[in-house]
Symmetry: C2
Subunit: 410 residues, 2 copies
């Protein structure tokens, strides 16, 4: 432990000298992002072919659902937003090509990683500018976290799983802890927030309290083993585990250290409605869960045995428990959690169920490891009033008709 601490101090000391300097790293060759690679030896016969980057089987055609005029489905009227298809997701990792997109209609900026910079400025001792190569030379962390849009929620007017629950995805994010970069810059006393800014045309910015920043906020350059995809913020995305999707600023180019929240354009205009300002700086999301099989849009072919499957998650930590009711909420039983739940990540649950052919209402309820319990839609509405609530985590009931059709029961 002692040697680790020494090494750590050494890194921070020498790293400070490194950051912001031209250290002679040759600019990326185009092939790589941030590696320092010489030309390859020529004594190998290396061929690039279709095998070089594999494709899916021709029978696999799962795609995101792209909504064009779906204001009433909690997506933005100006933009083309894409929802992931949760009932087709095998396991907790969302394939990067299927990660949900909510960009207010912004196309992703076309950023050359050799030209991209991250600036840390504001209330710091040493303003710093990092190249991608420099960021990738720091110690890295790799964490599996979900990201969910604030608009992801049950809705009486929507008819499918992906319309209501398609704005959540889960990835292995790889990058540098923002706390490490801030230590290099030296945070001045009195600084209590950061303002993160993206390089997109609309200059999306978000304020994040310093307590959260120092806990687990990540400057991510990797997603599921490869560079972050363009719609997810290539080449850099802020990952604020457990906070709403809007905090996870894409195409990250600036971190300004400040002493108050900034109330940027996007913080004022799009996410605060009426008198409900709760949504502006809201704490951890969840706990939440949704049954993905059977779910609205599907049909059960026959009575008999089924394995009910779904996902649960919480912005407050790990999932501790998921209960399932198949009788409209009269009785609840513990679902099986096949894997050890990860902190702030999708968690699978399963529940054995025999459909007798009659009408049934299925729902799931998540409890997280800080003891919070997912509310019913009625309780949720009672607490938040008629305004749009900041967290869309009420229980989603599905109704199975006696023909086996599965419908939104709200």
């Amino acid at each position: 432990m002692g040697s680790k601490r020494t090494a750590r101090r050494r890194f921070l000391k020498e790293g400070a000298a490194l950051a912001g300097l031209a250290v002679g790293v040759p600019s990326a060759s185009g092939q790589t992002l941030g590696s320092v690679r010489a030309e390859r030896p020529t004594d190998l016969t290396v061929a690039r072919s279709l095998m070089a980057y594999g494709e899916r089987a021709r029978f696999v055609k799962t795609s995101r659902f792209v909504y064009e005029d779906a204001w009433d489905l909690h997506t933005d009227p100006n933009g083309k937003d894409a929802h992931t298809v949760l009932d087709q997701q095998l396991g907790i990792i969302t394939p990067a090509p299927l990660h949900y997109i909510q960009s207010h209609g912004n196309p992703p900026p076309d950023i050359d990683p050799t030209q991209h910079r991250l600036m840390i400025h504001g209330m710091v001792d040493r303003p710093l500018v990092f190249t991608m190569d420099e960021l990738m030379r720091f110690p890295a962390v790799s964490r599996i976290h979900y990201i969910e849009c604030i608009g992801n929620a049950p809705n009486p007017r929507a008819k499918t799983l992906e319309a209501m629950h398609g704005m959540i995805s889960c990835s292995e994010w790889n990058g540098v802890l923002l706390s490490v970069l801030l230590k290099e810059a030296g945070v001045r006393s009195g600084a209590s927030w950061i303002m993160a800014e993206g390089a997109d045309a609309t200059k999306h910015g978000k304020s994040v309290p310093m307590g959260k920043v120092m806990q687990d906020v990540l400057v991510a350059y990797g997603q599921n083993g490869e560079p972050v995809r363009p719609h997810q913020g290539y080449p850099l995305r802020l990952v604020v585990p457990g906070f709403e999707g809007k905090y996870h600023v894409k195409w990250l180019r600036g971190i300004k250290v400040v002493d108050q929240p900034y109330m940027t354009y996007w913080e004022q205009s799009s996410y605060i409605k009426g008198e409900n300002h709760q949504g502006a700086y809201s704490p951890a999301q969840g706990p939440k869960s949704v049954i993905t099989f059977p779910s609205a849009g599907q049909r059960l072919p026959s009575r008999g045995f089924y394995t009910v499957k779904g996902f649960a998650w919480s912005g407050g930590g790990a999932v501790r428990r998921v209960e399932v009711s198949t009788d409209g909420g009269r009785t609840w039983n513990d679902a099986h959690l096949p894997e050890q739940p990860l902190r702030i990540a999708l968690t699978r649950f399963e529940f054995p169920w025999t459909w007798n052919g009659g009408e049934a209402v299925l729902q799931s309820r998540c409890t997280d490891d800080v003891g919070r319990v997912q509310p019913s839609a009625a309780d949720h509405a009672r607490f938040w009033g008629s305004h749009k609530a900041p967290h869309g985590n009420p229980i989603q009931p599905w109704r199975v008709t006696n023909e086996g059709h599965v419908l939104n029961a709200l």
Copy 2:
């Protein structure tokens, strides 16, 4: 707990009635693999576009290395085999399009999942045939495991990281435990092995001892959240965690329960050389590790501080410890393991190092949680003699020249 056990019994009882019967599941629409989905509501404007399945940024061009005549690099002379590029992998998940391929030149068979069947036969009470839909209705497990080819090993004649260490990849595998399927079929007394057969042209088959099968062997239909890729065995792959890659039979179509190992063509011909039969039914791989930065084929641009990075793994369990030496093995220090090591999965390690501009030899050494330690190349050769050893897990040393070039130091 009691209710879970009851549910489990109920599933197994009713599941037995289900398996092997036509249960009226409509054949997959082509869009989905195994889901039971009705036509979508028509009141949504749903458009499919380029956003429907995302692409990489145009600056990201990482691809597998495809070897065509690389017998001397431990790949097969008949086939085109593809190696993953470990130093470009961010995090422990290998992107599916970049997973290594070692198929003895077999192209992947073009299997229609609606026509594919898995047969369980041999020494069982009830021979069973499963469709993909039926398999996907079973309780599932989702586990992050690496797969590594037996040929992945340090080699004095090879010059790059990916030539020697590119036949390992790590994925989230999703599917049914084979033990669950075997309980449905009822294993007869005296049965002590299975023989797994693939649907490829060469009828790849492998024998696996029953003890391992009942422990954690998986019939996988999912890889990193989507169906297994064609080169990885679409639509079904046997995953035998910690065993050599050859055991992970692709395009799985049959499980024959038997009372002895089968010594199939591929078990006799390709993996047993001379008098060394150890490779035929060898136990868990590893422990093993390799430094990916800096590694052979790269160049350090200048003296100064670097974060040495790499991966460690063990077929015997989780990584407990990784040590790094930067002075040719005279001294070793503990590396930092940024994430909690997962069982039989890639594990990242990092080590802070200041290069003073002189010659240096860097190496890493893994200890797993059953106490096994990765051997030096010399110890490995001494133990196994001159024959090709069954496990290619000796320590890989890299030599940094005083110009910063990184070379294979074997």
